[in-house]
């Protein structure tokens, strides 16, 4: 059964889109990441124009994040104060990102920048997380006590704030900087940015894993909402029909995923996420390096 997408201007199989939404939504619920880093490449792969895929995915992540954050909120796993600090940076970063998106599209280098960003960020983060989770699993098997957090330059920064839920007393500049970076990625890569934010919160800020997932989802809601509106106004590439199909599958998947997620141990969760991130990274790297079957591409002219 097919449905015609009014903004993407192509027709797609409804069940394929619902299935994609459900599958990626499940992973999003388990890991507390928006799932965009899987969904955006998949949408482009099935023939959705990249600009539409990026903008529409931002809209869909709003839904799966709202659904996810409510499940975490019930268990008291959202640090709102930290969330607002991250969000402050996120709004700045995503606004700059949408502007950069349009600039790169004009230069004809958007696709390359998107793919290279995926390779660099997924590669670094996936690798670091894998190492860390292997070490953590080894530690817990040996019953060795976890290392005490070292005192670094980050603790000397000004504007210190107390984040009670996260049991942290750190500079507000840290979550704001992370928010800016994540907002930038959200706009350019069509992701929520959870795959960068979650490890940054754990390893840079030292937040407890349980609070990290809910808090990152909270920030993602508003950053992706900002991206959706900016893209709708600047590029008219948000396809609500596609978004509604994706999120119908996505919200259900996210609910199931959130229930599975709480049953897994933190280090197992991180290990699995790391593997998934590295697989996507390897696939995109391979596509960048292998000689394409068709050396020429078409774009609409007129710039």
């Amino acid at each position: 059964m097919h449905i015609y997408l009014p903004i993407a201007e192509i027709s797609v199989n409804i069940f394929l889109i619902l299935g994609l939404g459900g599958g990626v939504g499940f992973l999003s619920g388990v890991f507390g990441v928006g799932g965009g880093f899987l969904m955006t490449p998949l949408l482009i792969f099935i023939g959705i124009p990249p600009a539409v895929a990026v903008a529409t995915e931002a809209n869909q992540i709003v839904a799966s994040s709202v659904s996810g954050v409510l499940a975490h909120w019930k268990r008291g796993n959202v640090d709102f104060k930290m969330g607002f600090a991250l969000l402050f940076g996120g709004v700045i970063g995503s606004s700059v990102g949408v502007w950069l998106f349009a600039l790169l599209r004009g230069l004809g280098q958007l696709d390359l920048v998107i793919k290279l960003s995926y390779v660099v960020f997924l590669g670094i983060i996936g690798f670091l997380m894998l190492i860390e989770s292997i070490n953590a699993m080894r530690r817990s098997r040996n019953h060795a006590p976890p290392k005490r957090r070292a005192h670094t330059w980050m603790h000397g920064l000004p504007f210190k704030m107390r984040f009670r839920r996260s049991r942290l007393y750190i500079s507000a500049l840290l979550p704001i900087s992370i928010g800016i970076l994540v907002g930038l990625l959200a706009a350019i890569m069509g992701v929520g940015g959870g795959f960068v934010m979650v490890p940054a919160m754990i390893y840079l800020l030292g937040m407890p894993t349980a609070v990290v997932v809910g808090t990152s989802l909270f920030q993602i809601i508003f950053v992706t909402a900002n991206v959706t509106v900016l893209q709708a106004v600047n590029t008219q590439t948000v396809d609500v029909v596609l978004a509604l199909l994706l999120l119908s599958g996505g919200v259900v998947g996210a609910q199931v995923g959130a229930r599975v997620g709480v049953k897994l141990k933190g280090e197992q969760l991180r290990g699995l996420l790391a593997l998934m991130v590295l697989i996507v990274c390897a696939k995109i790297s391979y596509d960048l390096m292998v000689t394409p079957a068709e050396l020429f591409t078409l774009g609409r002219g007129g710039h």
């Binding site: 449905i3 015609y4 192509i10 839904a63 709202v66 509604l244 259900v252 996210a254 394409p292 591409t297």
Partner: protein, 252 residues
């Protein structure tokens, strides 16, 4: 008496105009005069019917609305494939399909093919700006031109090979026009040529509209005319769907 004479004159004029020597020998009709893109649209097929003298050859050409097309060549830069040289062609038909009763190269002289742009060989594709024209030699421009046609064919927007025009009896003919699910909206020109002895004996142009209909059209219009409310509505829909799913699952 005058009345009878008058009727005779009319009858006579009708008979003479029906004479094959002076009549338009070609008439054409489409099974539908508009392609409607609705929610369930997955490509469309139309039938083109016509009547012409059976001793002639028929060529049918369908062209979509023209626009500029940007062709980019991928080049290897430090191990990865990136967009390199690019050429923008102007007035490119967004859709092109040709059908004939036998290979059209056999009966169309080259100068007529060139004049009427029949077939990919004779399609006029020119770079948009003079800078691109000056910077590229003819051979390179040729590869970009070929690539444009090839990629369009891969997208299903240019026919890979010519379609068939079938004759039913001596002077009725028909052909099938296929439109893929990614066709651009706009006005399509359907040209039918009757060839006899290496020249165009008659021709006929029908305009075919391709347009979005119903909900699809309304969503598209709303997104373009009221971009900000559209964006806000998209967010609200998403937030409500997420919230709704949460309620359902809490109860379930």
């Amino acid at each position: 008496m005058m009345k009878i004479l008058y009727s005779l004159i009319i009858l006579l004029s009708v008979l003479t105009s029906a004479n094959p020597a002076t009549a338009r020998e070609l008439s054409v009709d489409l099974s539908e005069d508009v392609v409607q893109i609705t929610a369930g649209f997955d490509g469309s097929e139309l039938l083109l019917f016509g009547a012409a003298d059976g001793m002639a050859d028929i060529v049918v050409i369908v062209r979509g609305p023209i626009r500029d097309e940007l062709v980019r060549r991928q080049e290897r830069v430090m191990g990865v494939w990136a967009n390199g040289a690019e050429v923008t062609f102007e007035n490119v038909p967004s859709y092109y399909f040709i059908a004939s009763n036998r290979p059209f190269e056999e009966f169309i002289p080259q100068e007529i093919a060139r004049e009427r742009q029949i077939g990919y060989q004779e399609m006029i594709l020119t770079p948009k700006d003079d800078i691109a024209k000056a910077a590229l030699d003819d051979a390179t421009l040729g590869t970009f031109r070929d690539a444009l046609i090839r990629v369009k064919q891969d997208h299903g927007l240019y026919g890979k090979k010519a379609g068939n025009v079938h004759f039913i009896g001596d002077n009725l003919f028909r052909t099938q026009l296929r439109f893929p699910n990614n066709i651009p909206v706009g006005q399509y020109a359907v040209d039918v040529f009757v060839f006899r002895d290496g020249r165009i004996a008659d021709e006929h142009t029908t305009i075919l509209g391709v347009q979005k209909f119903g909900m699809e059209a309304e969503v598209y219009d709303f997104a373009h005319r009221h971009a900000l409310p559209y964006g806000v509505l998209a967010i609200l829909l998403a937030a409500m769907a997420g919230w709704f799913a949460n309620i359902i699952f809490r109860k379930g």
